[in-house]
């Protein structure tokens, strides 16, 4: 990603309050041309309010919004050079598909010949050439989604806002459409800002994700970095599953931190570049797939746990094991089911020894 460019969207300390409620609380973001940017968070975290402020349907209580360097904070929606795809699709029920797509072009008084051509282009783009004459209520959910997308793209906006674009589709269609959406975005070179509550969806499609919580942005990063290097317990917990150990710093040599946790007999070791104080508390986070099972425990090895398997969930591609530690804490680890039947399948109540590398986990400071 080239971050040297000037941002297409700039949010400067944007805040939106409803009475005492901070829907969006002091959010500053830079979004660059060509990005597929996701606003991810649980419902009520303010992601939709933020999107509606970008579209112009809400005005920030304080802060500024810039589009392509221009202050648009007080610009009404019909004067903003962007388009939005609504969660409900908001297709005009009394207009057919072609007229729905042409609506925006009519507003800018595009000549009829050019308009018809653009509508055809759009129908082809989303592969619904034959549906131009249909009314929205004669379409399936997937087809409506395509019409909504075509209508939002018809004016060739530089920036497209999408509010839960795949939320109304069933799982199979959603997975398929995710890739289509990414391909489309890459082909057209338009900047996409997507609101979603589905972390898998955000991970699949986005170039960067902003994770939001209670109106604030918790972390902004590429999907891989968000997963591998979460900066907080909330983020670690929200994206995928994770094992967290409360621990106390024993020592730090170069970047290698040694900690002691009441849940583990052995010491924990993790790499961390910032200087830490001895005795401070921190959380060691390790993803279930980074935990390996070893033959038997060695006396002086760090990042090593002994436990008893209590639950096994076979998910097809992987199996998830829940292990009880002597301290009573329950942790998870996963193994991919490479072979149809493992040579030595793990069983309930089996005692196992678990281990992970110091570079496979990370340290969270709250």
């Amino acid at each position: 990603m080239t971050l040297q460019e000037t941002p297409i969207v700039q949010l400067q300390q944007v805040t939106k309050t409803y009475g005492d409620l901070y829907a969006v609380d002091d959010v500053s973001l830079d979004i660059y041309p060509g990005e597929f940017f996701s606003l991810l968070g649980a419902s009520g975290c303010g992601k939709t309010t933020l999107l509606r402020m970008l579209a112009g349907f809400e005005t920030p209580t304080s802060g500024k919004i810039f589009l392509g360097g221009e202050d648009v904070t007080d610009l009404p929606p019909y004067e903003r050079p962007l388009n939005m795809m609504f969660q409900s699709y908001a297709l005009f029920p009394h207009l057919n598909v072609a007229d729905n797509i042409a609506f925006g072009l009519r507003q800018e008084r595009m000549p009829k010949a050019e308009r018809d051509q653009r509508v055809q282009e759009m129908l082809q783009l989303v592969q619904i050439e034959k549906l131009g004459k249909r009314k929205p209520h004669q379409l399936s959910g997937g087809q409506r989604q395509r019409v909504a997308l075509a209508r939002a793209l018809a004016k060739h906006p530089k920036l497209l806002l999408l509010d839960e674009p795949l939320g109304a589709l069933d799982k199979k269609l959603r997975e398929q459409t995710q890739f289509e959406l990414v391909n489309l975005q890459e082909r057209l070179g338009i900047t996409f800002i997507v609101v979603t509550h589905d972390q898998e969806e955000a991970m699949t499609m986005s170039s960067r994700i902003a994770l939001m919580r209670e109106g604030r942005v918790v972390q902004v990063d590429a999907p891989r970095r968000l997963y591998e290097y979460p900066n907080s317990r909330y983020c670690a917990d929200f994206i995928g599953s994770i094992n967290l150990f409360d621990a106390e710093v024993v020592k730090q040599e170069d970047n290698l931190v040694t900690l002691k946790s009441p849940d583990c007999d052995q010491l924990l070791q993790v790499y961390h570049s910032q200087p830490l104080l001895e005795g401070m508390t921190a959380t060691v986070a390790v993803r279930p797939e980074k935990v390996q099972i070893t033959e038997n425990c060695q006396p002086q090895r760090s990042n090593q746990l002994r436990g008893v398997i209590k639950e096994i969930a076979y998910l097809g591609d992987v199996s998830v094991y829940h292990v009880d530690l002597p301290s009573g804490k329950r942790i998870q680890f996963t193994q991919s089911n490479v072979q149809a039947l493992a040579q030595q399948p793990l069983d309930w109540e089996e005692e196992v020894c678990l281990h992970w590398q110091a570079d496979a986990c990370n340290l969270l400071l709250e």
């Binding site: 579209a55 112009g56 349907f57 009404p76 929606p77 019909y78 388009n83 939005m84 609504f86 409900s88 908001a90 005009f92 029920p93 009394h94 609506f103 925006g104 507003q107 800018e108 929205p136 209520h137 209508r151 004016k155």
Partner: protein, 276 residues
């Protein structure tokens, strides 16, 4: 067992028949007697359409009918415009200063006795012509204003219930695509709520055509509406012409109601379809 079922069926059917007879008997007998040859309303003298012919030459009734239709059409049209504005304000803005009193004022004519409404309007018009010089006298204008007053209340109920189901993200989508708010309203919202506006207009039209009490209060010399003519002529003894007139009105009103019902049915069906 089967005898019991049969018996209860007969009982149910006769109840239904009684209900229908109770509701429609008087109207049907009125319609039949409009084709009565005899001058005496209660004596059957054979089939004839002569009262219809005479009705067509009764200038007083024709003038009154024309006036009533005019008043009904004008007051209904104004009522629809104002009621749409009121309903938009009430549905779209859940909190504004004076919302409560607006709601109250819009409900009041629905529950207020017509006599009181008529009397209060009369007092208002008298006071206004005294202080402001307008309306100069009582007549067509005052009846139109009076009918608008209660018609707005009824039409607001109809339009509001339609707007309560209206997806305002459609307007937002229109604005997002570059339409100014007024244009978004006229190209998106208005076509979609038009069935409710038509139904509301028909309702207001019928209410106005039907009104005797309020009109009697606020009308002046030379502005006699159809119900007023009918009422005064009945007091002098029922003429079969009135039967003929009533038959025509009943036919027209039922036709209008049937159309309104059909429009509502289609609108509802389309709305349900678009929700799927």
């Amino acid at each position: 067992m089967s005898l019991g079922v049969k018996k209860s069926r007969i009982a149910l059917f006769s109840l239904l028949a009684f209900g229908y007879a109770f509701l429609y008997g008087p109207i049907v007998s009125l319609m039949i007697y409009s084709f009565n040859e005899s001058r005496l309303v209660t004596v059957w003298g054979g089939w004839s359409t002569k009262w219809y012919g005479e009705l067509m030459h009764n200038q007083q009734i024709l003038d009154a009918a024309w006036l009533s239709l005019k008043i009904a059409a004008i007051s209904a049209s104004f009522a629809v415009v104002f009621a749409t504005l009121a309903a938009m304000a009430l549905v779209r803005y859940k909190r504004f200063r004076g919302r409560g009193s607006l709601l109250l004022m819009l409900t009041a004519p629905l529950v207020m006795p017509e006599v009181i409404l008529g009397l209060s309007l009369l007092l208002l018009f008298v006071a206004m012509s005294e202080w402001l010089g307008w309306p100069a006298g009582r007549g067509q204008t005052t009846i139109i204003i009076a009918h608008m007053t209660f018609a707005i209340a009824y039409v607001t109920v109809v339009v509001r219930s339609r707007l309560a189901h209206f997806d305002f993200s459609l307007e937002e989508a229109a604005m997002d695509l570059g339409a100014k708010p007024v244009k978004a309203f006229f190209t998106i919202t208005l076509p979609l709520i038009s069935p409710a506006l038509i139904a509301g207009w028909l309702l207001a039209f019928t209410l106005s055509l039907d009104d005797l009490v309020v009109a009697s209060f606020v009308s002046g010399p030379g502005s006699t509406t159809l119900p007023m003519v009918v009422y005064s002529s009945v007091r002098l003894g029922v003429s079969p012409q009135i039967n003929a007139l009533a038959t025509i009105i009943v036919t027209l009103v039922s036709l209008a109601v049937a159309i309104a019902g059909y429009v509502f049915y289609r609108q509802e069906k389309q709305r349900l379809k678009s929700l799927q």
